[in-house]
């Protein structure tokens, strides 16, 4: 498929279609970087690496990035629950969010904030060790980890 536009960074007209899954890392809202783990085909300039957008591409990028965030967060939850042997309710209690919100993230119906996504990612790196740091019963005055210094 031939591109009708030229690359706005280098002027190259020989653009190619490329699936950016696994290739695109982009800031998105308050996420410093999101790794795209969903299929998304965009124009790509082989000369300079730019991805020129057609008019609907900003919204397509948003959909794919948001789906990637949800997918990753859901996987973090599964990893944590299986390795630390935690119920959804207990995990939610530990990190200071409602069970319903946690369930929504797990089922990919809710998009977590960067803070929640980052906490889930941190725990998922070593669930048994990391989850011990998240026990509100040990610190009633600061029971929400996310508010702790």
């Amino acid at each position: 498929m031939a591109a009708k536009m030229r690359c706005g960074e280098c002027g190259n007209r020989d653009l190619e279609r490329r699936n950016m899954k696994g290739l695109m890392k982009t800031p998105w809202k308050d996420f410093p970087t999101v790794h795209l783990t969903k299929d998304l085909e965009l124009w790509h300039c082989p000369k300079c690496g730019n991805t020129p957008y057609e008019g609907h591409d900003p919204e397509r990028v948003d959909e794919a990035v948001e789906a990637s965030i949800r997918d990753q967060a859901s996987q973090f939850i599964d990893i944590i629950r299986s390795k630390a042997d935690l119920s959804m309710e207990e995990l939610a209690r530990r990190i200071g969010i409602s069970r319903e919100y946690m369930s929504g993230i797990r089922s990919q119906k809710r998009t977590p904030s960067f803070t929640i996504w980052n906490v889930l990612k941190a725990i998922a790196t070593d669930p048994k060790a990391m989850i011990e740091r998240f026990d509100p019963d040990l610190d009633p005055a600061g029971s929400n980890l996310l508010l702790r210094a």
Partner: protein, 136 residues
């Protein structure tokens, strides 16, 4: 003799209005790191919202915002300086390209000024966003 824009603003704004009305074929963003992605960083928003903000910004352009027209990659592009839009001064570069018998707005650059910019009526627009860096 002062330069004039290659692409009449009425034509540019007509394509913008089409885009905002839902016809996404009315525009392209051929350099997202210099437009959509930079606006998204400034306002910490998603790229769809950034694209719409860019279009609303273009609607604010007037003849006094024009800076110069020049040839880039065998086509003429128009440069503008947009003053005090959403709290900042912006560099805008655009063109209208013919495609399949129709016309498309190529929104090439829309980002906070990296350096002061002189516009048609002699004003020099200053840099208002020092923290922004190109997002490649």
């Amino acid at each position: 003799m002062a330069q004039t824009a290659k692409y009449p603003l009425d034509d540019v704004k007509a394509l913008v209005e089409e885009y905002l009305a839902g016809n996404r074929r009315a525009a392209v963003f051929s350099a997202p790191p210099s437009s959509v992605k930079r606006v998204a960083r400034v306002f910490v928003c998603d790229e769809g919202e950034a694209a719409k903000l860019i279009m609303r910004g273009i609607l604010k352009l007037d003849d006094e915002s024009f800076s110069r027209a020049f040839v880039q990659w065998e086509m003429v592009v128009d440069e503008y300086g947009l003053e005090s839009f959403m709290g900042h001064n912006w560099y805008v570069k655009l063109a209208i390209v013919e495609e399949d018998g129709g016309r498309v707005l190529d929104e090439i650059s829309f980002h906070p000024l990296d350096k002061p910019m002189k516009v048609a009526d002699g004003r020099v627009l200053g840099v208002t966003w020092a923290a922004d860096k190109p997002n490649k």
